[in-house]
Structure formats: C-alpha cells, structure tokens
Subunit: 444 residues, 2 copies
C-alpha cells in the first residue's frame, strides 16, 4: 500500500464512541440442542454509535436482493445512521412481503430501545435463502444484544463471531492514523467463506464497466471510524476502497443476494471534516483501502475449502475492462482452480481461460509467470505464447506455497487488473453439497 | 425429437464407403511401460471416405486455438475432404510454428499414402496443452492406422476409443433413415469429459448472439454420412444441429482450445442431392439433430466426475439471448452444481444465479420446478418468487434420480433455452488437480 498503519485492538469499537455485541439467539435450527442455545454459535450482532454518524454503503448488484439490502439501499441514501443489526444463519432473501416486514421489525426494535429514528438503523442478514426469519428468536436476540452492548474488544470479537456462517475464524482489524493534529481510528469486521465474487455498487445497480460474469457465500463487512467526513466524500472513499478490495476477490464465482459493506464515521475524533479534496482525505482513503483489502484477503484465505490463495495479476491489456475480464476468466476457471489445488503449474489451462475471456488475446504475445506474494522476482513459464526452458520441477516449486502470485502479461496495451482468488478443492464440494438428511444444517 | 430413428451398428463406418482405424502409438508417455506400447490405450484415429466427400466443420471460438484447428478452418472452407486423422494425449495447442508443421505433416503423410491432396485431409488433437507432439510416435501410428483401415464395426469402435482422453467409455452412434427411395445412414463418434462448454462456430469467430461466458475438456465429434448434400446446405445443417446440441452442453464451464465437429457426406447413397429447400432436407436435418444431441448427452453423462445430469429448461425470457444467459448462469454455478451433487433442492442458489445473470429477472415472477427427464409433470418448489407448500422430502425425491429436468419460468416474455448440465463432485476436483509427481499423467 506504500503507507503502513499502526494496528490497534478492538476492531469496530476501537474508534471513539462505538459499542458492539454478539449474542446467540438460535436462528440456525441445528439438529441437536433443540430448544436450548447452549453450544450454538453467536448469530446476532449489534453495532451502535453513541452519536449519529455519516454513513456510506455498497450492496450486491444481484437482481435478486434480500429484504435487508432493500431497506439499507433506501436508508443509506439519507447519509446518516447510528446502528447496524445483523444476523447469520438466514439470508432473509426470497422471503417476499413477510421478509421486508421482518427486516423492518428488526430495525424498529433497536430504534425503540435506543431512542433513535428507525431510519437510522441498518440491517443485514446472511445464511440460507428462502426461509422466513424465526422472529421470536430474533426479537429475543436483539433484546440480549442491547443488554450486552459494550465498548470492549471482547464485545467487538463477539460481533465478528456472530456474523460468521461457514467461516472458520472471525475477521477483524483496526488501525490508528493521524489526520493533522488528531488521532483517528478505523475498524472493521467481515465474513465471507462461499458465494464469494462480490460485485458491489452504491445503488445496487451494476456499473457498465463491471462485467457481470462472476457470482459468491454472502460477504458482509461493517466498518467504523471516528473520523469526520462529509457524506459525499465518505461515499466516494468507500466506493473506491471496495473497487480495490472486495470487488476484486473471488472464491467460487457466485455473487450473493446479500452482500453488504457499511461504513459509519461518527466524527468524534474532531478532525477538520474531510470534504474529499484536502491532502488529509488521501490519508483517510489509504487507511480505508488498507482495512478493506486486509479484510478482503482474510475472506479469500478463509474461503470454503480453500487450500491456496492466488493473486492473479494481469498487465498489458488494451483496457481496464479487458484486464479485469482476463483476470476473472482465469480466477474463476474450474480447471485452473483445480490445478492450483494440485500444485500443478498448468499454464495451458491459463492460456485456455484467457482465450475464452472477452479480452483481446494474441497467443503469441502472452507471458505467464509466478512469484512469491508481492514479489517482482518472477519465474516465467511462458514467454510469447511458448513454454520457457524453466524445468517443470522449478515451476512446481513456484506454485507449491500456500500463497503465490500469478503474473499474466498480454502485451497488448497498458491496462492492468488484480484479482485475489482461491483454489477449488474437494472440501469445497463436500461442504456445499450439504446433507439433505439434516436440512437444518444445509448451507446458504 | 418427434421423429424416431432406426439405430444401426458401425458408427462412422455404417454409411457406405467409409473406413476407420484406431491404433496405439504411445503419445501419452505414461509413467509405466516406457518404450513398450503394451497396455496403453489407443491414441490415434483415422477415418477415410473411399470418394471425396462434401465437408462441414465447426470449431472452438477460443482465441487461443490449436494448430489442427487452424488447419481445418482453412481446409473446410473449400467444402471437400476425404480423411480425418486425430490423436489424443496431446492437444498440439500453444506449440507455435512447430505445432503447425507437425499438424501439416500428419495430413501430408495420410495424403501421400492414400493418393489424395493434403488439402483433403483434416486433423484434430486433444490432450495436454503446450507440449510438442512426439512426431516419431505419431508417424508410426499413422502408418499402423493406414494398415488397419477397415469398414468393420470393430474398426469404428477402435477409432472411438482412440480419441478418448478422460472419457470412461467410447461414444458412438449410427442411424438409418429414408430420403425418398434411398436408404441413407449417418454415424458419429465423439469424446468429451472435461473442459466442456463448447462455443463452436463455422469460422472460429464468436457469434454476437452467443455470450462468451462459458468455458470446457476438449470435445471432438466426427460424423459421416452417405447422403448427397450440397456444401452450403451441409454447413447450415451442421451449424443448426450443433446449436441445438454441442453448444448447449456444459460440464465445467471451460471452453477448450481444440473443440472440433466435422461432418463428411460422400453421396454414395445416391439420393437426389439435397440443396436445403426440399422436404427431404428436413428429414436429414432431423437425423443430424438426433445424432448430435445423443452424442452431446453422452459427453455430459460421461463428464469428469459427473454423478448427476440436469437439463436446465428456461422459459418466459424476454429474448433468446437472455434465456440462454439465465440457463448458463444456473448450469455453471459452482453452488448450484454442488447442491445437485448433494441431492439438495436448493432453489435459493438457483434464484441467486438467475439474479446475477445478464438476463432480466423479476424475483416475484420466477417459478422453479423439477420433473423426470422430458416430462411435463413438474413439481414446483417456487411460484412467483416464493416457496410452495411442497414438502422438502418430496423436493428431495425429485432431485434424487441420476437425471432430472430443472424448469425455470421467468414470466417476462416468450423466449426459452435448454442447457444440458452436470453436477460438480469431489471426483471432478480430484481428477483435475492431477498429480505433479507423475507429470506424464497430468490432464489437459
């Protein structure tokens, strides 16, 4: 990133004036322990700012979008929010009028208890599609979360844990940086795992520049900051940070109905409010880029069944759109992904995927190589469309580590793109085929 | 198909005047048996017509296309051919000038031996990309195949076996039908298995109407007939038959560099030559449609690791292109495919995939249901975007068979599309991750 940031504990409660909670209300009706909440994972999270905050949000561009996304789309437009309530285990998607009523009821309950307008409460869900929320459990969960609200790192960790579905570990981060004379903090929690190939936009509409080729498990990310930022500047900062992070990851190429990124900035750091044109805004943008990219990479590393993480770096494309298309074709190819899993430097499959992408490819100009993450020491397996003399064993060694970079030079122009991708493993298939003899445990 | 056809033995040698051979020349350098051909599978096929035949061909639209495809593209344009030589185990793709020389040499050797112009000999390859052909072995194989040429069903079966790569069984079919007073035959052999999501066209260029969303293992199909058909009519017939068969299948969404469909019609049935406007042409078209669709379905059923075959039937789209996009989004979704494998009637994942397709989707109008293959007795799991009251156990029973139809009504217009798809299994991943400790046995 160029800039380095000072990491601090506390994730979403690291910035001044934020409280969090994560509790168990039993939304996932597991086969065992029916009636009792003992031993179940937390499934309801609450994040609250002590004062109204400027808000920005990005949402799935899937045409089938969940009830909570519909509500957020409308409320985020006002630019002010103060709380986020989120559940895991049930996506509240394809649930019709009832789903909208339920999502509204969740925000109304939080608003009443905290004496704020319902319009200042945002809502998110993740889990199985098409099943109505068990509202008695959700209501009890919200009551428990309101009681548990706290600004301790433990409370933030509980919230990070509560939004997990097939994630194997919570994802959270907070950093501290200076804006002029003031110390500012930015924190976030995220979840992912499967159905990960986000295509987020500010209004839920798909930007023309972004090919809708890619689908993903829901990803949720909630960010908090005590910076003071004008609404338009905050929106722009989040849009740009997401374009460089969450919109550049893919686990399985499936885009979810529920993807949501929300950022609350409550201004309690008392910096001179950022309008987007001052140098300090650049610092804030770099900080936001850093947190988003780190959380995005945590999602890929913890993707369902993921064994290897590969950063696909395309350069020399004619246009940014073509660079993106080429990188996504490679990153989503089942054959390329299985070869990564096998530690097979199969550049033929990479060539094949490039060839069927919408990017202009001239076979005789393509270079393909491997490096350690972020390194410029590239071992080239293909130059000008032809295999190099690098021995097979050396190529195998280059793709053996848990993480490596795949470099593709198209030598057609000056545009580039980066996609953070994962391999395709038996464990992914095994997890997602589910177990119909235990419907309650079926995945999203 | 409406029409039913009389099946006959002999596949590609069932029509008058065709000979075939399938021999072992050791192109796949297996780890064991080095130097000896004993125990290896046949890997070189030869098909010859006793007289020059009218020819039509369709080829991969991948921008990275193999040397044999480049040669066929040029030769098929002349409209006349008399022989096809094909190898498995090596794709002769990304092999540069040397690859082109080798492919030319294969056709020249056949032409010299059979006293025909090299331009009348076509060539195809399938296997690993980026490795030069072992030409001494190939030359010896062509000599052996020339010696073995025969019009027996065994010779045709040997040819079907020789083009197999990861296929577990040969795919062949021949039918007999009447064109006026003459009895005509049409036969074919095919191979597939992985990298199966063809997007074939007459000139290797991608038709605007066909979204390049989908990638596939090479598919090869060689068809023979003793019908007399004018070149333009034969091209049109093959283009239309492929549009309804091979271009409607997907195993893994990966489009190969080598996909090739060739049809030789030598006229020895002595029917009045078909020009494309007479009723008899309709009979020929129906016969070709039938053979292509049956061979295409054999490819899906024998796809790498395939346990379940699902026919995705989309109706009510605004345009044919949108219907196709919707069907392919569902058919290529990793999450939908793993749920098929698990016998999980997860309509939420179907909705999700529809939502991120380029087709216009209105969630509240979507119907999703299941039936036995070809049946109109549909069990609806979703109507108007909402789950029906059909019990989960009944839905599970509907998706439990080895083959079923998935019906999707978008209720937006009158266009429809069908895609023949397969599930995604641990066996697919296991097969394609390969074994780098035995490079010679790595997949394509």
């Amino acid at each position: 990133m160029g800039t380095s940031f000072h990491t601090v504990p506390g994730a979403i409660v690291a910035p001044r004036g934020f409280l969090a909670a994560g509790v168990t209300c039993g939304i996932q009706r597991l086969g065992t322990g029916k009636g009792s909440l003992k031993g179940r994972k937390p499934d309801l999270a609450l994040i609250v700012s002590e004062v109204p905050a400027t808000v920005a949000g990005l949402f799935t561009t899937n045409q089938v979008c969940a009830a909570p996304v519909k509500i957020c789309l409308e409320r985020v437009r006002r630019g002010v929010a103060q709380a986020i309530v989120a559940n895991s285990g049930n996506a509240n998607a394809c649930t019709g009028a009832r789903g909208l009523r339920d999502a509204h009821a969740m925000t109304a309950q939080v608003a009443r208890a905290l004496h704020m307008p319902a319009e200042h409460v945002l809502v998110a869900s993740t889990g199985r599609i098409g099943v109505p929320l068990p509202m008695p459990a959700v209501r009890a969960g919200i009551r428990a979360a309101l009681d548990a609200l706290d600004n301790s790192p433990e409370a933030a960790a509980a919230a990070a844990h509560a939004i997990m579905t097939s994630d194997t570990r919570p994802k959270h981060l907070a950093i501290e940086f200076r804006l002029g004379p003031r110390t500012v903090r930015l924190g976030g929690i995220a979840k992912g795992a499967g159905m990960i190939h986000p295509g987020l936009s500010l209004n839920g509409r798909r930007p023309a520049a972004q090919p809708p080729t890619a689908p993903h498990a829901t990803m949720l990310c909630f960010l908090t900051s005590d910076a003071a930022v004008a609404p338009a500047a905050l929106r722009r900062a989040l849009r740009d940070a997401v374009a460089r992070s969450f919109n550049r990851i893919t686990v399985d190429g499936d885009m979810s109905t529920n993807d949501t990124v929300l950022l609350l900035a409550n201004g309690l750091a008392e910096n001179t409010p950022l309008t987007g044109s001052e140098p300090a805004f650049g610092v804030f943008q770099a900080a936001l880029d850093h947190v988003c990219l780190e959380l995005a990479k945590m999602i890929v590393r913890d993707g369902e069944g993921v064994h290897r993480v590969v950063t696909v770096r395309v350069s020399g494309a004619r246009t940014a759109r073509e660079a993106d298309a080429a990188a996504r074709a490679v990153a989503n190819s089942a054959l390329v992904k299985t070869s990564w899993h096998g530690g097979d430097p199969n550049w033929g499959r990479v060539m094949d995927a490039l060839g069927y992408s919408v990017a202009r490819i001239v076979e005789e100009r393509v270079d393909i190589g491997y490096s350690a993450p972020g390194s410029r020491q590239i071992l080239w397996s293909v130059r000008g469309g032809q295999p190099t003399r690098v021995p097979f064993a050396r190529l195998c060694a280059a793709v053996a580590p848990k993480e490596f970079d795949l470099h593709i030079r198209l030598n057609q122009g000056r545009a580039g793109a980066v996609i953070y991708a994962a391999d395709l493993t038996e464990a992914y298939v095994d997890f997602n085929k589910g177990d119909v003899t235990n419907p309650a445990a079926l995945g999203g």
